[in-house]
Amino acid sequence: MRRTVAALLRKELLVELRTLESVPGMSLFALTTFVVFHFALNQNSVSGDEAAGILWVTLLFAAMLGVNRLFVADADQGGFDAFLLAPVDRSAMLLAKALALLAYLLVLELVAVPAFALLLLGPSLGQALPDLLVVLALADLGVAVIGTLVAALAVRTRARDLLGPLLALPLLMPVVIGAARATSPLLGLVHAEHSPARWLLTLGLYDLVFGLIAYAVFDFLLED
């Protein structure tokens, strides 16, 4: 299992490195969205709830771009068939894809979070960074798991670009609630010590439960 996942993940990252289909687009989208927010809200700097909201809306929608592209190559160019021919556990695909999406999200945030701090954020990010990293990590896990599941569900339908976000956004609502509520005290003008533990707990539990659900049902998406 571990070797299969490693091989699949290596293939994913290699394909992404060679084609650069997802990550640059996601990052550029995030940067553009910050500019859009600046003009749409007519504000030079934001803080607190507003800042958390803008950050998470941007990250979430940028992630949707990655989710939409996640299985396209496999569906269109026979990757699914090749994988099904191999005598390996099918859950390896879920794990590898989720890890790949997680990696994309991390790179996206490596670009988007500093850009956000530079372009829009009023208070400095320095103090908040360690806590913010925890929130980002937990939320990324949730987005990666749900995104992979939804991408697999939507990719072989005729309206996949439409169905992906339509399915993913309601399912990610608890992640948005947890992440935004945990982030907003960190980005406030009066810096809070820590983000509230109950939000981190909510995020963690949601990740765990959806990880298990995805593991339970993913096999059924890969039967033909």
Partner: protein
Amino acid sequence: MYGRGLRTLSIATVAVMTLALGLIFFYAPLEAEQGFLQKIFYLHVPLAIVSLCGFVAGGLMAIAHLRTRDPRWDMRSYVAIHMSLIFAVGTLITGSIWARGSWGHWWVWSEPTLVSFLIVFLLYATYQPLRFAIEDPERQARYASVFAIVAGAFVPLNFIAVRLSSEYLHPRVLGSTSNLPAKMALTFLVSVLAVALLYGTLCKYELTAKHTRAQLRALRRQLAGESAGTGRTMRRSASPRLALSADSSAPGSAGV
């Protein structure tokens, strides 16, 4: 046969529904603060409960479908979710009316149950488009079941998450039966029963209609001869298709 018991069930539904309406308008006392407006609670809350239970039941039936691969489970899951969606629209409308009457706004974000309900509704609203976008009937059924399971598990999780996020601005007096006066509690329970019966009856009607249509199609195919029947492509549809041969449509052979 699918139609068995339909008449009894319909009569029971009409009777309990009439009883519930009678209780609501003539037996249950007027609530001191909200007055007559509060009576929408006897419709709104049962609709919400029944449609949520229907969503979860759709998920359980989807599990049965994936385990047995019996297309009839897929059909039941589809009908349960379909009917729940309609009840959910009713819930949102009655909830909105209630909110307008008691707080002056058509929509209140501070009521966690209503907000969670909207999120669940938005998720399930994609069920039919998802089905419609998959042409192969077998894959359509399988993917729809996966969706139904994930969404069914999402229902309680979502309610917990949204409840956590709200600050309890409005006291939840009417949330449970434990703190209702006895007359109100009785009316409420009868209303729940009535709405649940209505849900069951409508589901059964839809199942019967779908099954009858499949039977009819099979018989027609048989009449026209196999070659003529198989050559025609079926219209694309979001609803599951029961592939019946004319033999299996003989009375008594297909159980509900």
